[in-house]
Amino acid sequence: MFRKRPPPEEERRVRANDREYNEKFQYASNCIMTSKYNIITFLPVNLFEQFQEVANTYFLFLLILQLIPQISSLSWFTTIVPLVLVLSITAVKDATDDYFRHKSDNQVNNRQSQVLIGGILQKEKWMNVRVGDIIKLENNQFVAADLLLLSSSEPHGLCYIETAELDGETNMKVRQSLSVTSELGDPNNLAQFDGEVVCEPPNNKLDRFCGTLYWKDCKYPLSNQNMLLRGCVLRNTESCYGLVIFAGPDTKLMQNSGRTKFKRTSIDRLMNTLVLWIFGFLVCMGVILALGNAVWEKEVGALFQSFLPWDPPVDNFLFSAFLSFWSYVIILNTVVPISLYVSVEVIRLGHSYFINWDRRMFCSRSNTAAEARTTTLNEELGQVEYIFSDKTGTLTQNIMTFNKCSINGHAYGEVMNILGAQQKRVQPLDFSAWNPLADRDFCFYDQSLLEAVMVGEPAVHEFFRVLSLCHTVMSEEKSEGELVYKAQSPDEGALVTAARNFGFVFRSRTPGTVTTQELGKAVTYTLLAILDFNNIRKRMSVIVKNPEGRIRLYCKGADTVLFERLHSCNHDLMNITSDHLNEYAGDGLRTLAVAYRDLSEEQWEEWSERFRGADKATDCRDDRLAAAYEEIEQDMMLLGATAIEDKLQEGVPETIAILSLANIKIWVLTGDKQETAVNIGYSCKMLTDDMTEIFIVNGHTVQSVREELRKARERMLESTRTRDGGKEAEAQGWGGACAFGNGCGGGAAANWMPDESKCPPPQAPPSSILESISGEFALIISGHSLAHALEADMEREFLETACACRAVICCRVTPLQKALVVELVKRHKKAVTLAIGDGANDVSMIKTAHIGVGISGQEGIQAVLASDYSFSQFRFLQRLLLVHGRWSYLRMCRFLCYFFYKNFAFTMVHFWFGFFCGFSAQTVYDQYFITLYNIVYTSLPVLAMGIFDQDVPEQRSLEYPKLYEPGQLNLLFNKREFFICIAQGIYTSVVLFFIPYGVLSHATQSNGVPLADYQTFAVTTATALVIVVSVQIALDTGYWTAINHFFIWGSLGTYFTILFAMHSSILFNIFPKQFHFLGSAHNTLGQPVVWLTIALATVICIAPVLAFRFLKLDLKPQLSDTVRYTQLVLQKKRKPAGRAGRGVGGTGVASGSTLGRLGRGGSRRSGYAFAHQEGFGELITSGKNMRLSSLALATFASRHSSSWIDTLRRKKHANSTSAQNTPPTGEDSTASSQAPPFSTSSSAADEAGQPCNEPVLAHSPDDIALSVIRCPEREVGECSTGNVQEAPFVWKGTGTRISGASSPGPPPIAEETSSGE
C-alpha cells in the first residue's frame, strides 16, 4: 500500500487526547526506521543498488555480450563467476548491516512509555505513541518524542533535563510548563485536558519552538522553554506529563540527524572515474581494432574467404567490424577486472581487522578496543586534512578540577616547586581524616594550603568562604554528610567542592540563606542578593550578612573585569596575583579572581533601594540592573585567584600537536560557550599565546558578520605584508580575499584568485603566504554568526577566512550547523574531512564528514553507531591516522598502481596481436589463463602487499608526522600515477608481445619443429607475463613477510603446476574439446630458446623501472625513503641510542612553533562559569527551584507525605523567621581553627533535626535542619531541606559524593572520631 505523501506541513495542529482528530493530519508516528530493506524488498532493492555501481553494470553488460556467439571471444564463465561472487558477497554484507539496524530500531521502538489512554496510564511501546498523546515520564528516562510539558511533580511545573544527547551540554536545563497546565496535576485531570496546540511544522532548530495553546477559549503562547525534546533525559524530577507534539521522524533529534549516506573514499571516486576512463580507452581500442578489422576484411578477409568464409549473418566487412568491436570489448575488459573491486574490499577488510586488533588503540579502563565499523574507508584515513572535533567528552573528560590557587599573593598547588622536581608523584592530600564532609574524589597535592587553613590565615579562610558562598550550586544531602552538589557548570562545582574539602562546606541553601559548615561549625548566612553572572559582566557576586550581622559582598569573576574594580590599595597584590594568573593561563588552566568588599548597613540599604528599583523596571531592566550591580561592585579587596583544570582526555595536546605537524587542520565545533571552547583551545594547545591574532566573530547580523570576517582577512593580510614585504605582490592579488586551500587540484599549494571561475593550476608561488598565515591566526565564531556565515553568499568568504587560520573554533553550534560546516569544507575544499565526537549531537557531523569517528565507552552510543570508526580515547586518533591511515593509503595506492599495471600488461598484448590475426579478436592466451590470471596467478601476491606492506615502521610515522603529507596531497595514486602505471603496463605488453614475436617467428625446436605455432606462442607469452609481473611485485613489495614470500613464490609455483596440469594428457582425455593445449607446456618450456626469450623480456621490462626508481631514490628521495634508509643504517650500526635521540622532541624542535614554545604570554582566560547560564541567580532568589535539593525526599517519600511536610514547614516557618540568624559561636574569624568543630547548629535544628542526630555524631553539626526562608521582600517560598525520612540513612555516609544510600560508606565511626582532631 502506498501512502500518499502528505504535502509539506504549513502548521501543526495537535489536540490533546483526541486521536481521531489528530489522525486526520497523518502525522508521522513515533516509529523510527533507519533500516533500508525488509525481507521482500531486499533482493530487488539491493541488486538495484549494486547495479548502480558502474562496474557491476559494466560486467553485466559484458556478460550479455558474451552470450552472443558471433561476438563471444571468451567463454561466458570468465565473467559470470566473479560477478556472481562479488554480488553475493556484497549482498550478504549489506544484509548483515541492515539486520543490525533493524535490531537497534526495534530496540528503540520497543522501549516502554506510559501513555494516558482513556484516563488510565497504560504501558505502550514507543512506536505506538501518537501525536496528541499525553505520556508520563519518570526520572532518568529518555524522552520518547518531542513533548509539550504539561505538568510535573516539581513545584511550578518545573522539570530538569539533560540535553547531552542533543547538543552535548552536560549541564542541566530547566523546563517549565505553562501555569495553567501545571495545575492539572494528576492523570484524571490530564485525561480531561483537550487543549489544542497550533505550532510550527517539524524543523531542526533545537533552540526554538513557537506555538500557541488554545484551551478553554484562551490563548497561551508556547516557547522552547515548554518543550521536552526527544533524546533528552529527565533528571531530578520525579515525573512529568507531556503532550506529544512531534513524533518519530518529525522530532528535532531525528530532523537533526542527517541522512544516512553511503560513504565512498576519494580513491573510490577516483577509481570510478578511472574505470570510466578505462572504459573510454577500451572503446577507443575497440574502435581502432574494429576499423582495422573493417580494412582487413575488405582487403584480405574477403579474398581469404575460400579458406575462411564469413559467418552466416556477416555479409560485409562493416558488419564484421561491428561484431569485432564488441568482441574486442569483451577481450580487453580485463583491464578492469571485477577482481579489482573484490580485492579492494578484501584489502580494506584486512586493514579494518588490523585496526580492531591494535593493542595500542585499546583502552583498558573502559575495556574497549578500537573498532572499524565501516570497512570501506580505511585508506581515506591516510588523507585527512581537516578534523572536526567535538569538545565535551572528546577533547575533554568534562571533569573540572580545582588545581591551583593564589591567595593573598601566595601560590598554592605547585607541588613541584615546593617539594622539588624529583618527587613527581605525590600522594594527594587526605582530607577525610580531617574533614568528614570532604569529597573523596577531590585531589590536591599541596600540603601547604591545608596547613594554611589549619593555621587559620584569615585570607585563606576568606578565600574559601567566597568559594563556598558565591555560587549558584544547589546541594542535596541524601543522608547526613553525604553531600551532592548540583552545579550548573562543572567549574562552579569544582570550586565549591574545593572549598568543601578545605573545610568550608556549603551545605544547603534557601532563597534567603546559605548554610555552610566552616571548619566544623555550621554557619548560616543571610543571602541578601545574588548579582548574577552574564557574559558581559563576566563575574558574579553575592551579598551576604553573616550571623554577626556584618554585610559583605563576595565576588568572583574574570580577572580583567575584577582587577578594574579593586580598591587602590590592592595594587601590589594585584601584580603578584597577575603573575600567578599568567602562569596558570600558560598551563591552560581556567582562572578566576576572587575578591570581597565590606559593606556598611547604610551602603547596603541605599543600594538595595536602587537595586529594587532597577529590578522592578519594565523597560531596560537588564541595563539598569547591570548599572546597579556595577555600582556596588567597586573598591573590592582582592583575595586571590583560582585555577581550574578542565581535564582533557589523556594525551590530547600531544595528539593535536602531532596532528597539526602532520598538516592536519583541526576545527573544534562545540555546543558549548565561547569562553569554554576558547579555554579548551588553549589548554589543548590549539590556540597559543604566540598567535598573532585571534579573531572572534560574534556578530548577530549578516552585515556585522561579513564585516568581521573582512576585517579578519585584512588583518591577516596586513600582518603578512608587514612580516615579509617581499611577497607583497602576491598578497595584493589576494586582496579580494580568496584563499583556496590545499584542495584545488590536490596540488601542494593554494591558489589565490579573485573568483573561482579562473582557477589557475596548483603549485602557485603564493602557497608560502597561506602557509605563513595559517600559522599565526585563529578564528572563533559563534553559532549566531555561523548561521549567517553559512548562508550561500557568505560561505566562501567564511571558508576562506577560516582556512587561512591555524585553528578554528565554532561554539554554540547546533548539530546541524556542525554538519553544515563539515559539508562546506567538504564541498569547497575537496579535502578529506574527519569528524570526531561522542554524543548524539555529533551524529549529523559524523555522518556528513568523509570519516566519522565515535568516542566509545562513554554513556551515549549514538555517535558510535553513526560512526565509521570508534575508540575510546581521543589520542588514539593519531595512531588511527598516522599509522593505520597512512599505511592503508600507502598500501591501497601501491595495490592500485600495481593492479592497473598488471592488467594493462596482460590485456594490451591482445591489442598488438590484433594486428597479426586479422583483427579477429583472437586471444593471445589460453582462455583458462585469462580466467585464472586475475583470480589465481597474480591475486595473492598483490593482496599480500596490499595488506601487509609497510614502508616505515609504525613508530616512525608518529615520530615524523610529515610522512603523512603524501596522503593529503594525494601523491601516491592520482591521475598522473595512474597514467604512469598504464604506460608501464603498455610498455610491458609491447615487450611481451614483440619479443616472443621476434624470437619465435623464426625459431624452431631442437627437433626442427617450428616454435611459431599458436599454442607455443601463447604459453611463452603467458609465462613471460607471469614472471614479469611477479618480479615487478617483488620490486614493489617493501616489507617481505613470510606471507609475501609464500604468496609470491606460491603464485609462480601455482602457475606452473596449473599450466602442466591443464596441458596434461589426463585432462585432455576426459575433455578433449576443453583442453586442447595438450602438451604445449611440456613442448614449449623444454626449449632453451623459450627461456632465453622469457629472460630477455623480463630484463627489458624491469631494467628501465629499476633504473628509474633508483634515480628517483637517489636524486629526489621522499621522506619515507630517507627514514627507511636511516633505519637501515641505524640497524647496521646497531646504535640504539641514536634512535632515541631523534624522537618526537627532535621533530618538534625542528618544526618550530607548536611544540616548542609554550605560551607564557599575557592572555589570561577567565574560567568563570563557562557552561553557566544566566538567570540561575534569579531562580534561586525566587526560590523556585528549591525543591531540587529535597529530591531525595521525593524519591523516598510518597507524594502525599512530602506535601505534608511542606505544609508542616510552612507552619514552622512563621515562628522561626526571627530565630534564623543565630550567631555562630566561632564567627568566621581565624582563631577558632584549633577549636574542635563542635556543633553550633542553627536555629531550627531542634524540630526536624532531632531524630537524625546520631548520638555518636553529637559533635557533628546537623545543618540539614530546616533553614527558613526569608526572601527579602517577597512571599514565602518553600523550604529546602532536611527531613525525617532521611534519618535512617544519615549516619552511614560521612560525606561522599554519589547520591543514593547504596554508595558504600567508609567505616563511619572511625571517620567521625578522627575528624574531631
Partner: protein
Amino acid sequence: MMASSYNAKDEDGHHPGSVGSGGPGAVKSKKPDNTAFKQQRLPAWQPILTAGTVLPAFFMIGLIFIPIGIGLLVTSNNIKEFEIDYTGVDMFSPCFNCSQSYSWNSTSACTCSVPFTLDQPFESNVFMYYGLSNFYQNHRRYVKSRDDSQLNGDKSSLLNPSKECEPYRTSEKKPIAPCGAIANSLFNDTLELFYIHPNGSKIGIHLVKTGIAWWTDKHVKFRNPGGNNNNLSIVFQETSKPVNWRKPVYELDSADPENNGFINEDFIVWMRTAALPTFRKLYRIIQKKKDNMTPTLPPGNYSLEVTYNYPVRSFDGRKRMILSTISWMGGKNPFLGIAYITVGSVCFFLGVVLLIIHHKYGNRNNNADIPN
C-alpha cells in the same frame, strides 16, 4: 639487495594503551592478542634500492647477457638456411602457369619444377619446411573451427561434429571428417627434391615424412576412430571428405597405416595452427648420410618439383620452401643473439650512467639526517 630485518622485539615494552591491563580474574578483557601478526610486527625483510645493490645488478646483467648474445649469434650464423619462393607470381617463374589456373577440383595435377643452387653444404639432418605468407591461421574463426574430440577418434563426434566447424560441418548431408575450416584448408602441395648431379642426372632425395609432428599430437591428441581397425575406409564410411580435399582422410597416406587418417603427420602439422600470418611448417626431414663423410646436401644444383594444388594467389599469399639445418637452439635465429647483445650493452651502459649520476648528484644520505 641490501636489506634490514626489522625486529619486532625492539618495540615491545612501551604500549601507551596498555597501562594497567585489567588484572587477572577481572572481567574478560577484550584486549587484542599480542601476536606479531595482529600487531603488524611480523618479522620482515625490507629491501631498499641502494647504489650498492642496483648498480652491480646492472653490470651483472650486462656481463651475463653480452656473452650469451655472442654465443647465440655465432650459433645462429653457423646454421645454414635456404629459402625459395615458388608461388609463381612472376611471369617468368616456373610455377606461374600453375598459379594462374587454380581450381580446387581440377583433376589433373599441375606440376612445376623450380631449380635452385646451394652454395654451401648442409650437414647433419636437414629440415625441409613449407612456408606460407599472409595466411591467417590465427584468425579467431579459423582457430576455433575444428573438433578436437572428432580428431581424437570419438565416434559420436565423427558423425556429429561440433557446431564450431560450421560451415564445414556437413557436406551433402553427411558429416565432414575431419570437419572445420582448418582441416578443409589443408596444405596439399607435394614437394619433391632432386639433386641435379653435375653430370645432369636427377637424383631424388629421400624425404622422411614422419617425425615431423609433436609426439603428444601424434600419439595422444590425434587418433583414428575405431581403434585398431585398419580398414579406415569403413570407419569413415558415413562421413564425407572436406570440401576442398581431393581424396578422403583415409587415403592421405595409403601406404603407411601408421600415418593415415587423422594421424597423418602432414595433417597433424597443419592442424597445429600458426601464431602469425607468416609461418613455416615442417614438411620433411632429410636425414644425414650414414657415412658422415659427405654432407647431407652437398653444394650444387637442385630442383624442387612441385605438384601445385594449393591456391594462394587469391589472397595475395606466398608459398615458400625452406631448407635448414639445426643447432641446440633450433633453427637460424639471429634476432635472439642481437637482442641479447643489445640489451646487455644497454644495461651495462645504464649502469655506467647511473654510477656517474650517483657520484655527481647522488643524495648521499648516509649521514642519516632526516629533514623534517
